[in-house]
Symmetry: C2
Subunit: 206 residues, 2 copies
């Protein structure tokens, strides 16, 4: 199950890397690729969930093993949503093509949000592979930076110097929300790995 | 577990009813109530999840019983997110107070979205209580109406007659997204109840 989670997390990391590039560079062909490949992530998540249910039925795990299986079900659900967020970011690029989707004045902010999301997804894959809890801490810190940038987008859009049209405001609002939610899911998974490793019984819901 | 899901779903239905009223009437006191009571939903979700894990460990259910427990874990996660969406809608009303949060030209659209979300949450509670699958179908149909209204919000905001400031555009975008996500989670739960009742093995992830 760990191998499968690592595989899915790796696909999600590739997906957000391509999605943020498609978004920042208004690359519609790349956006199409991201959107099409989200189905692959969904299939692998479904297949992992079936494996988990089969393990519960046949091996009837208890204690730590049981917690790992239940956590894997939750982690897979978060990874699936991360794939959806990548896809949503790519869709924004596609909707606005041939116009640029990133509003003027926010290019560097979204470039930084994208860089952080990609970095978090890469760290998450490593965390799932190695259970190196330092990575979980790094992911939580990265999320604080994402939250700061998310607020910065709204400061910009609601500030007196904002000259964007309504379409720019909508794009900025949605894109920022998707980047921020992607990061939230990464933190949610990192917390679950921490809980598992430290032996607390309660698995956080989100 | 069913009783607990019904209790949580009932709280979520009350939450969205008050949240949409707070939003549509810019009632900040009501918004505060909704935000404060979301903690109660989160606690009950956590408690249900602990019960589910205990049942898996002690009773080692198989076949349909196992699927019910796994589904309950997923349903509780969706209910928790529905509570979050209520809270987000209430927060929008609080942020803009004493200004009105609902942009001009969209009052009737958001009133209708709110009415649909509340109706879906009430039907969901009944569906969980009774397993009356007609309700699951109704919920899926209501979601189509919500999706139409979601598109209508963007048509309005991106249309030539839109005179809203950036803050109105941001509020309309976020509020519409939260209403639409609330409905998505209701559909996700309705599908799980359908799958359980019809005996398909695969539990959909979302």
């Amino acid at each position: 199950m760990r191998e499968r989670l690592v595989t899915i997390s790796d696909l999600v990391a590739n997906s957000i890397e391509l999605a943020t590039r498609a978004f920042n560079e208004s690359d519609v062909a790349l956006a199409e690729t991201v959107i099409a490949e989200d189905d692959r992530i969904d299939e692998l998540v479904l297949s992992l969930d079936e494996l988990a249910i089969n393990i519960l039925a046949r091996q009837q795990p208890v204690a730590r093993d049981l917690r790992i299986v239940v956590s894997a079900l939750r982690i897979s659900a978060s990874l699936e949503r991360m794939g959806d967020m990548s896809s949503h970011i790519a869709q924004l690029a596609r909707y606005r093509y041939p116009d640029k989707v990133v509003p003027k004045g926010l290019r560097s902010t979204f470039a930084e949000m994208g860089r952080l999301d990609v970095g978090m997804a890469r760290k998450l894959t490593e965390l799932l592979r190695t259970e190196d809890l330092d990575l979980a801490e790094e992911i939580r810190n990265d999320d604080d930076d994402i939250d700061d940038l998310h607020l910065k987008v709204f400061d910009k859009v609601l500030g007196e110097t904002w000259k964007g049209a309504a379409v720019d405001t909508v794009d900025a609002t949605l894109a920022s929300r998707y980047h921020e939610r992607f990061a939230d899911h990464a933190v949610s998974i990192a917390k679950k790995v921490q809980y598992l490793a430290t032996g607390d019984w309660v698995v956080p819901a989100s």
